[in-house]
């Protein structure tokens, strides 16, 4: 039977300096896969390399040789000695490897549990491996299983439900207010990393016009160019209250940039359309009393932070449900994996053929009356001979000859042809 082996390092075992050294570029990944393909100790292989982990998934007859090969390949392709990263490596076999790949794909092993990118990254890595023809029947099945486990966890648990970053939390709130942020007008007051990130996320929601204002007009102008928006002078921003829908503020001002009366006066000409303030500045830019006006909502950085923390806590609870699904899937996959041993397959095959012949004999005997017990025994003997002869060559083939290279494939085909898994 082929073993499933996973060797790798991640944010849990290796510091970022080391992960940077080990991370494989696309070319390096392809080269490594090509190396595995021509190596006799590794039958199947997939290489995952993201900023938080580098992992090699293999199917091989001899686990130890495969692990050695993988280590050597990593060291060679990154030109660093094995000793330098050996301590950070984890190695999982069979059931543990299956569980690990399920957990990784479902984002249960991620730095930020539930983040959605990992599934796409694994799919890409799998695509590369199939193009390089290094993934075979065993890993194909494992990966497809992993994708469906990930999908199931995403739909059945709330693992990816709520935002765990400030800017996404703001977007989520915006959606609860406006329904869709499409075509909504955004005003960005001031600049700053988090505010710019929020605007970028908003652009992902296909917002309408983006207006930027800054104390120094040039800086605002540059930002507006970046967001393909429009820059206005700082003292014009109050006039914009009449038309915008979302206001993101992050200036270094010591007092409020927008006060309650300014908003109150604009409400009527806005015809009470909702207005959403996201105040990322410390000290605050937006008068918190504005929140009490009708159809206006003000969230400051602390409010958003609180939401994020609650969401992270929720994710933790949902992750526990995900672990149960992974456990269930792991056991199932391991059971299938076990059946790929030669002997159980041959036994199952014999049983299948015997059952069929037994059924037919019984059927025929029912219509033949007055058969002596000798004659019946002769039929029995004929049955054993049939089973033996029919299965003689397949048995030899599966046991020894013919499928030296990839027994897993033939065992899998056999089980499918004769429907042995039911």
């Amino acid at each position: 039977m082929q073993h499933i082996i996973l060797i790798g390092l991640s944010h849990k075992t290796a510091p970022v300096e080391l992960r940077e050294c080990i991370a494989l570029t696309m070319e390096e990944t392809v080269d490594t896969l090509a190396g595995f393909r021509s190596h006799p100790d590794v039958n199947e292989s997939i290489v995952f390399s993201t900023c938080n982990r580098v992992e090699i998934l293999m199917a091989a007859q001899n686990s130890e040789n495969a692990v050695q090969t993988a280590k050597t390949f990593l060291a060679q392709s990154k030109r660093i000695p094995v000793e330098q990263f050996e301590d950070a490596l984890y190695i999982h076999h069979d059931e543990d490897a299956i569980r690990h790949i399920f957990r990784v794909t479902s984002s249960l092993d991620s730095m930020m549990v539930g983040e959605p990118q990992i599934l796409g990254q694994i799919k890409d890595a799998y695509l590369v491996a199939t193009r390089q023809k290094t993934s075979g029947p065993l890993l194909n099945r494992l990966l497809h299983r992993a994708f469906s486990v990930a999908k199931r966890i995403r739909t059945e648990t709330g693992i990816g439900d709520h935002a765990v970053s400030i800017s996404y939390a703001a977007i989520e709130l915006g959606r609860k207010i406006f329904g869709s942020l499409k075509e909504k007008k955004v005003l960005l007051i001031g600049a700053g990393e988090m505010a710019e990130l929020a605007v970028e996320h908003l652009m992902g929601q296909q917002v309408g016009e983006i207006i930027v204002t800054n104390r120094t007009f040039e800086r605002g102008f540059a930002l507006a160019r970046r967001f393909s928006g429009r820059a206005i002078h700082f003292d014009e921003c109050v006039a914009q209250l009449k038309s915008v829908d979302v206001i993101i503020s992050s200036t270094g001002a010591t007092g409020y940039v927008i006060n309650r009366d300014q908003v109150k006066q604009s409400l009527r000409s806005r015809r009470n359309r909702p207005l959403f303030f996201i105040d990322i500045a410390v000290p605050r830019d937006i008068d918190p009393r504005i929140n009490r006006l009708s159809n206006t909502y003000v969230y400051d950085i602390d409010d958003l932070q609180t939401i994020v923390e609650e969401n992270i806590k929720d994710r933790g609870q949902e992750a526990a449900k995900g672990e149960r699904i992974v456990e269930e899937a792991t056991v199932k996959f391991q059971q299938w994996h076990e059946t790929l041993k030669v002997v159980p397959t041959i036994v199952a095959l014999r049983k299948k053929v015997e059952t069929i012949i037994d059924g037919e004999i019984k059927h025929t005997l029912a219509s033949l009356n007055g058969l002596s017990s000798d004659e019946r025994q002769a039929l029995e003997r004929m049955k054993s001979a049939l089973v033996k002869k029919v299965l003689h060559h397949p048995t030899i083939f599966l046991k020894k000859n013919g499928c030296r290279e990839d027994r897993t494939l033939y065992l899998d085909v056999t089980r499918k042809l004769f429907d042995l898994d039911k």
Binding site: L173, R175, K176, I177, F178, G179, S180, R268, R270, R271, N272, R273, P274, N291, R292, S294, N295, Y297, Y299, D303, T306, I307, E310
Partner: protein, 273 residues
């Protein structure tokens, strides 16, 4: 007949349970089950009213029992129609219990036998009754949308995101649904009042007789007219619109039941013990 009413109630009750579980567990199949059961209940309900109408030859709203059956049917019908229009799954948790409640009350009130009178056989009366009932059902849903709006707005304003915040849709959608329900309800009610006035003229010879029911119906209509007018001219929306939709429906209820119990008028026998 009686069995069919029980079956109807059963479907509505199960639908309520389905929506309740949907509210708690957020599984889509529960919502679909709730919706399907409500649809089934509505189908049986239609048969009940149809047979009643066919057998007596009059639109079956001659005593409180029949009136409530009709009110439940109208609410279910309007809800089903609106569900088709809006993707607002959670709304069933308001509509299904409301319909069930109406039906339960209906089965509990005494069935006063009524004499057929010739004034019941009138085209305008049938239109009057149907439009008024459907209109009031739409206003009941507007009230529900208002309640949901207030809950959701409160969660967003107080920044306390609890049980309902996750389950309720956006303010914009809730406001939009409420507005559509208001428009539909107001239009139907206006139509119902006009046909009622025509009917009054045809049987009593007067368009308007300052009957308490008529007066209160006029007040209700005015309130909704003001609400819609303000919305169209200065953009009354959101919280204020939601509160008025709730108050408006309270007045509808008073006009529907209260007037008959506390005041007198020519609708008396239909909605009194």
């Amino acid at each position: 007949m009686e069995t069919l009413v029980v079956i109807t109630c059963g479907f509505y009750f199960l639908s309520t349970a389905g929506y309740l579980f949907y509210l708690i567990f957020q599984k889509d199949f529960l919502q679909r089950a709730g919706f399907g059961l409500l649809l089934a209940g509505f189908a049986v309900h239609t048969v009940v009213l149809g047979t009643g109408w066919y057998q007596s030859g009059h639109i079956p709203v001659r005593n409180l029992y029949e009136t409530l059956l009709m009110a439940g049917w109208a609410t279910a019908g309007i809800f089903l129609a609106f569900s088709h229009r809006f993707n607002l799954k959670i709304f069933g948790i308001y509509a299904a219990p409301l319909i069930t409640l109406i039906m339960l009350v209906a089965t509990q009130v005494p069935r006063v036998p009524v004499q057929a009178k010739p004034i019941f056989d009138n085209f305008w009366l049938v239109i009057h009754i149907l439009t008024i009932f459907l209109g009031e059902a739409a206003l009941a849903l507007a009230c529900g949308a208002g309640v949901f709006y207030l809950l959701q707005e409160r969660a967003i304003k107080t920044k306390h995101h609890g049980f309902f915040y996750k389950r309720l849709p956006s303010l914009e959608l809730l406001d939009g649904v409420g507005y559509t329900c208001l428009i539909a309800g107001f239009t139907l009610m206006t139509f119902g009042l006009i046909t009622g006035i025509i009917y009054a003229k045809s049987v009593w010879g007067r368009f308007w007789s300052w009957d308490p029911k008529e007066v209160w119906a006029g007040i209700t209509w005015l309130l909704y007219a003001v609400l819609l007018h303000e919305r169209l001219t200065v953009g009354w929306r959101g919280r204020r619109s939601a509160i008025l939709a709730i108050i408006g429906f309270a007045i509808v209820l008073f006009t529907f039941f209260g007037v008959n119990f506390f005041l007198k008028g020519h609708h008396g026998i239909f909605t009194r013990f």
